[in-house]
């Protein structure tokens, strides 16, 4: 019988948080379709991970296990899952939208003549899948229009992991056939760039600057604002990519995660990769000339205007209020 399979990922020896969110998305789909929900763990030693998954309300847990799956490689994961999904027909295959999933799920789907519906933020009746377009400026609704399995990955934070019910599922093992020659890439161990000298995560106040600042020469404008507030200066990725500020000041999925009392975003559009790094802030203020900029979706206070006028005025107002 066909089923929903949720592919769980490991992080630090445990099932990662976003994987539980993917399981929550799978649970929502199971309710909509009445299909059984199965959780899948992959690796060379998956017993503990499988036990964690089996304690949730799922119909079954499958361990896909092979010695050559000891480190993640796109070839290993694609081959193992392809074999599994060929032997076990799926209606839906759900993934967390992580860097790892981005690296192999599109190839896996293509191998089965399908297309991954990636980075999904919502599932409505149909099912209709919502995903962001134009860096979060628009939402698009997508449908699967084929007989084969429907591959979906879900965005971090889009589904609630804490609503998962407990259970005690049975665990089975699937042993794929993988030859060493099939694994064409050799991954090295993860490393960090350099010792961080700024710890943005403990700063109570942060002024963060984005591409709206236009040029490095304009940075003193926001530096003055940060100084007046007594805040740390942070930035969106393009500012650091351009080398205008060091990478350690970057906030977002590939930078630091912060949750200050105040996060003041200046000329930042609010792409999801930025939002995941700061949306837990207590109070978010956005200054942006575009009233439809996605940053306003998470802001408590907003000023729609030209930052080159607003920021100096704000710096003055703060100085005189102190």
């Amino acid at each position: 019988m066909s089923a929903i399979f949720v592919i769980l990922e490991e992080n630090g020896g445990h099932i990662s948080r976003i994987s539980w969110e993917a399981l929550a998305a799978g649970t929502a789909l199971a309710e909509q379709t009445s299909l059984p929900l199965h959780a899948v763990v992959i690796g060379s030693s998956t017993e503990a991970l499988a036990a964690e998954a089996a304690a949730k309300q799922v119909a079954a847990v499958i361990r896909i296990e092979h010695a050559l799956l000891n480190a993640y490689t796109p070839d290993g994961w694609t081959s193992a899952l392809h074999q599994f999904l060929t032997a076990n027909p799926a209606t839906y295959v759900i993934f967390p939208h992580t860097y790892q999933v981005r690296d192999y799920a599109p190839a896996l789907a293509a191998r089965m003549n399908q297309v991954l519906i990636g980075d999904v933020t919502g599932i409505a009746a149909g099912p209709v899948f919502t995903r962001q377009l134009l860096q979060g400026r628009l939402n698009g609704s997508y449908k699967h229009a084929s007989d084969g399995p429907c591959f979906v990955s879900v965005q971090a934070g889009a589904f609630r992991a804490d609503a998962l019910a407990v259970g005690s599922a049975s665990v089975t093992t699937f042993a794929p056939t993988i030859e060493p020659s099939q694994i064409r890439t050799k991954p090295g161990a993860p490393f960090r760039a350099s010792a961080q000298t700024v710890d943005l995560s403990s700063a109570p106040l942060i002024v963060s600057v984005g591409r709206g600042i236009k040029e490095a020469d304009n940075l003193p404008l926001v530096q003055d604002l940060a100084a007046a507030l007594g805040a740390e200066l942070a930035a969106s990725r393009p500012i650091c990519d351009n080398g205008w500020l060091p990478m350690e000041r970057q906030v977002g999925s590939s930078g630091q995660t912060v949750a200050p009392k105040l996060y003041l975003a200046v000329g930042i559009s609010g792409a999801i990769q930025h939002l995941v790094g700061m949306k837990a802030s207590q109070c978010i203020v956005a200054i942006n000339k575009d009233p439809d900029a996605p940053i306003f979706e998470v802001a408590d206070y907003g000023i729609v205007g030209d930052l080159f006028e607003v920021v100096p005025a704000l710096t003055e107002a703060i100085k005189s209020a102190k």
């Binding site: 796109p74 992580t98 860097y99 981005r102 690296d103 192999y104 599109p106 190839a107 293509a110 399908q114 297309v115 519906i117 990636g118 209709v128 995903r131 962001q132 377009l133 134009l134 860096q135 400026r137 628009l138 939402n139 698009g140 609704s141 229009a145 084929s146 084969g148 064409r184 890439t185 991954p187 993860p190 106040l205 393009p238 080398g243 990478m247 999925s253 590939s254 930078g255 009392k261 559009s269 207590q282 109070c283 203020v285 009233p291 996605p294 306003f296 979706e297 998470v298 802001a299 408590d300 206070y301 907003g302 000023i303 607003v310 005025a313 704000l314 003055e316 107002a317 703060i318 209020a321």
Partner: protein, 256 residues
Amino acid sequence: MKIVVAIKQVPDRDAPVRIDASGKWIEESGLQFAMNEPDAYALEEALRLKEAQGGEVIVLSAGPERVGTTIREALAKGADRAIHITADDLGTRDALGVAKLIAEAIKPESPDLILTGLQSEDLGLGQTGVILAELLNLPHASLILHVEATGTGLKVKRELEAGWFQEIELPTPAVLTIQSGGNKLRYATLMGIKKAKTKEFRAVSAADLGQSSAPTVTLGQIALPSKQRSTQILSGSAKEAAAALVEKLKFEARII
């Protein structure tokens, strides 16, 4: 080393977005277009590899007539020649459909390396490069910041989440999807712009590549997103809005 770089033309970041009459895409008339940002980094990486190793850089782009300007820009920056897959109906194809077109156009070139951006700024699929690797049966690595030729293959630096990185070794030919920020981008020089006009610019139609299978995933409606928090917009002149914000931060949010 023979390198193909897939570049996509996308609406300019600062362009206003208006939903068109069909409700399925944005109004394109009057829009400014630009090279997808990670693709500019992919081109930069390719040009640097060529400068270090010798070889050839071929840029490839699929899209309507207008993408010619973005292709010219890549030629002006230093690419040696270009392939334009002419297609007015890309919007009706899914990621696999577009990747099949690109793969067909690449096959006769047999390059040593294929670079794409990691993600397009309009559709944001983040898939095309990885699908290309599957279609061409080549090894791949994604989210790459730096590429080094080792003689037997490649050593690449891959970005992981939250400030972590990883090195990966892989043989060529290979496909890499490039993340932004690995290099400093060059500008086209006046000389480069002049030379671009004489470079080979070949057009091949999507129909000639013979790839048009029915999409397995379709985009229905597009819409403006709904707000998660209720934002208080502070209006007035810059000075008035600034003063209002300070009031709010002091007495309502009690932060300063």
